[in-house]
């Protein structure tokens, strides 16, 4: 009998003969003999060691390679990623404001606030006494009150100087703490007071550009560049201060504008104030007449009236108007001031500033065209796009109330009140070739849509007519040799509490230069000028606003690189005379 044992998984067939010696092999059961196991174990250990040695050798090789031979080779992206970062960020959190040449006019400076936790203060009297010695502007009682307040936080003094900080540190009170802060500083003080406005103690804009562009200024540290030229701004402000003093006026204002782009090069209203003093109580000096002063501009409106007449085709430049007697309009009577009583041409109407002839012109054009034209010139709405926060809406009659006498009076600037910025923008569009562009005061301004308001030919005609006003009309005092000034004067009765006040006027002078290719427009307004000996008792624009405008042009035109157009032979004669070569 053969006993079959199944001892292997694969081939379990064994034959066994009785009496036969059974040979037992552990390998058949998957066991190794002692020698073989040790060998396998050794070989495995060696394998592990070999792996470690290889890895270790690679690491060693790489370390030596990196440190001593080549260094690490990066591609461009990796270099940008791994390069040590140099943090050259702005030290302040509100953007600078600069003029068009990059001169800083508003900036934040890093300062320190002094604070404490009143609950931890044990010797309040002593600290209050010593702090009062350092900060004389704050009384001992105020410090004591703050130091003994029932709260866990109190500002003792904000925006202290490094010198004061060192003094407080030297006191050695551990209760006193410092906090990094910023304060808004205006290095040019009052020069751009009405343009820039102010921020509050937490650096949030509360007036002027600081308010209207608060988001832009606080969200980016990139400088905000204005269109203002600081040198020109100073010259204009200087002349305004002189004019205000000379004519004992309540206030004086001027705006200088790039006639083609409507960028404001200078805008000044006096009286003004030092922005760093943060005097928020005196509201009178904060009043920006250039953008808030809604007033009846008087005869400067004759420029718009004449341009409308010529552009509509209803008036020809050769037309004449009867100005021999006052014009009766129902119960009103339109009169002239020092105008020769005769038939006046369009040019003479402007030269002599005739109300009667202007009213006749407007009546010939009609209500509908007049309203549409004024709308086109932006005279019926708050000035668009201008970044200055303080702007006013014009005052005018509704279309229903705009009757025949309104058509006649608005022709010479009564019955409609606008701000100076409205007038100069509209005037620029008349003289620049007929394109109206909303004004701006910042260089990065966008979304300003220009539109044509009159034809190029009308614009050229207006240049000629207004040049005659300066050569032989009411604006003679602004005829600056070489600069071919064009312009128009305007004198209007001042309204106080809704009533015209006799003897009180607002005088305006609106101009552009040079006539052949106007580059800049200028508007000067003097509020309530007084008669003086030099003006022979007159208070009309030709005696105050107009000469002030002339002085401004002669001073700023060379700064603005406008070349004077002199007669070469005359210039040569003058030069030789100066050297005494010719008499």
């Amino acid at each position: 009998m053969v006993l079959k044992l199944s001892l292997s998984k694969k081939k379990p067939t064994f034959s066994y003969v009785p009496g036969q010696e059974i040979y037992f092999s552990p390998s058949r059961f998957g066991w190794e003999t002692e020698d073989k196991s040790v060998n396998i174990c050794r070989s495995r250990i060696m394998l592990v060691i070999a792996i470690f040695v290889i890895i270790y050798s690679i690491i060693i090789f790489r370390i030596f390679n990196v440190c001593l031979v080549d260094g690490i080779q990066f591609d461009k992206e990796e270099i940008t990623y791994y390069r040590p970062k140099i943090r050259a960020s702005s030290p302040v959190h509100r953007a600078n404001i600069t003029d068009r040449n990059g001169v800083v006019v508003a900036t934040n400076l890093p300062t320190v606030n002094l604070l404490c936790n009143p609950k931890k203060v044990s010797n309040a009297e002593e600290i209050a006494k010593k702090l009062h010695n350092i900060f004389n502007d704050i009384s001992y009682d105020v410090f004591l009150e703050k130091l003994t307040k029932k709260s866990s936080f109190a500002y003792l003094k904000r925006n202290i100087s490094p010198f004061q900080q060192a003094k407080v540190n030297a006191l050695g009170f551990p209760e006193l703490e410092f906090e990094e802060s910023e304060t808004r500083v205006y290095p040019q003080k009052e020069l751009l007071a009405h343009v820039l406005g102010n921020t509050d103690i937490d650096n949030i804009g509360i007036s002027g550009l600081e308010k209207s562009l608060n988001n832009r200024l606080s969200s980016s540290t990139k400088d905000l560049q204005l269109t203002i030229d600081l040198g020109v701004q100073y010259a204009i402000r200087d002349e305004l201060i002189k004019a205000k003093e000379k004519f004992m006026a309540e206030r004086a204002t001027a705006i200088l504008m790039d006639i083609k782009t409507s960028e404001i090069i200078a805008l000044s209203s006096v009286p003004d104030y030092d922005l760093n003093k943060r005097d928020f109580k005196n509201k009178d000096i904060k009043f920006n007449f250039a953008t808030q002063g809604v007033y009846e501009a008087g005869s400067v409106f004759k420029v718009f009236n004449t341009a409308l007449g010529l552009d509509s085709g209803k008036i020809k430049i050769t037309d004449r108007f009867d100005a021999r007697k006052p014009l009766k309009m129902g119960r009103f009577k339109i009169t002239d001031y020092r105008v020769p009583p005769k038939w006046l041409s369009v040019g003479e109407t402007l030269i002599h500033s005739s109300n009667i002839a202007s009213a006749q012109m407007a009546l010939k054009v009609g209500k509908d065209l007049q309203i549409r034209f004024f709308k086109n010139l932006g005279l019926f709405e708050k000035i668009k796009n201008l970044e200055i926060n303080e702007r006013e809406i014009p005052i005018y009659r509704s279309e229903k109330q705009w009757q025949e006498h309104t058509v006649a009076t608005t022709a010479y600037g009564y019955g409609i009140s606008v701000t100076p910025i409205h007038i100069i923008t509209a005037f620029s569009s008349i003289l620049n070739g007929g394109i109206y562009t909303p004004p701006t005061i910042i260089r990065e301004s966008s979304n300003r849509e220009s539109k044509r308001v009159i034809s190029m030919q009308t614009s050229l005609d207006m240049r000629k007519l207004l040049r005659e006003v300066v050569i032989q009309g009411s604006a003679k005092n602004a005829n600056i040799e070489g600069y071919e000034v064009v312009g128009k004067t305007g004198t209007a009765n001042k309204i106080v509490n809704g009533k015209y006040i006799k003897g009180k006027n607002v005088t305006s002078f609106v101009s552009a230069f040079p006539a052949s290719d106007p580059k800049y427009s200028l508007m000067v307004i003097i509020d309530d000028p007084k008669p003086i000996k030099e003006t022979y008792g007159y208070v009309t624009s030709g005696w105050n606003a107009c000469p002030t405008g002339g002085k401004i042009i002669s001073r700023v035109a060379p700064q603005l690189n406008v070349k004077p157009n002199f007669d070469v032979s005359v210039q040569r004669e003058n030069l030789l005379k100066n050297f005494g070569i010719k008499n």
Partner: protein, 119 residues
């Protein structure tokens, strides 16, 4: 065989120490460089802050009113007037300068500059 093993072990231990030491030096160097970088960053921040303050200072020093008063005080300079700007073609011709010899002699230097100016 055991000698070889010992030698290899010693060699590896030495390697380990060398690498360890070198790694220590390297780490130390990196830490120093990081400190240096932090210092440079801090210096840059301070410099930027100083420049920022100096820009405000510079703007205040360049206030046109101040410059005008300084110019008037030290160098007698005033604003340029329109009549000071002349055309090249307006410069006198050489012959014209000799019409009055006395005055020519008096203003010789200035007139020579005018006459020799580029046209």
């Amino acid at each position: 065989m055991s000698n070889v093993k010992t030698a290899i072990s010693v060699l590896w231990i030495m390697f380990t120490f060398v690498i360890g030491a070198y790694y220590f030096v390297l780490t130390n160097d990196v830490q120093n460089l990081e400190k240096e970088l932090a210092q440079i960053n801090s210096d840059i921040r301070n410099d930027i802050r100083d420049i920022h303050i100096l820009e405000a200072d510079w703007s205040e020093l360049n206030n046109p009113e101040r410059l005008k008063s300084l110019a008037g005080k030290y160098i007698s300079l005033d604003f340029i007037k329109p009549e000071q700007i002349i055309n090249y073609s307006a410069l006198p011709l050489e012959g014209e300068l000799f019409e009055n010899p006395t005055m020519f002699a008096k203003n010789k230097d200035s007139l020579r500059i005018l006459a020799n100016s580029e046209r």
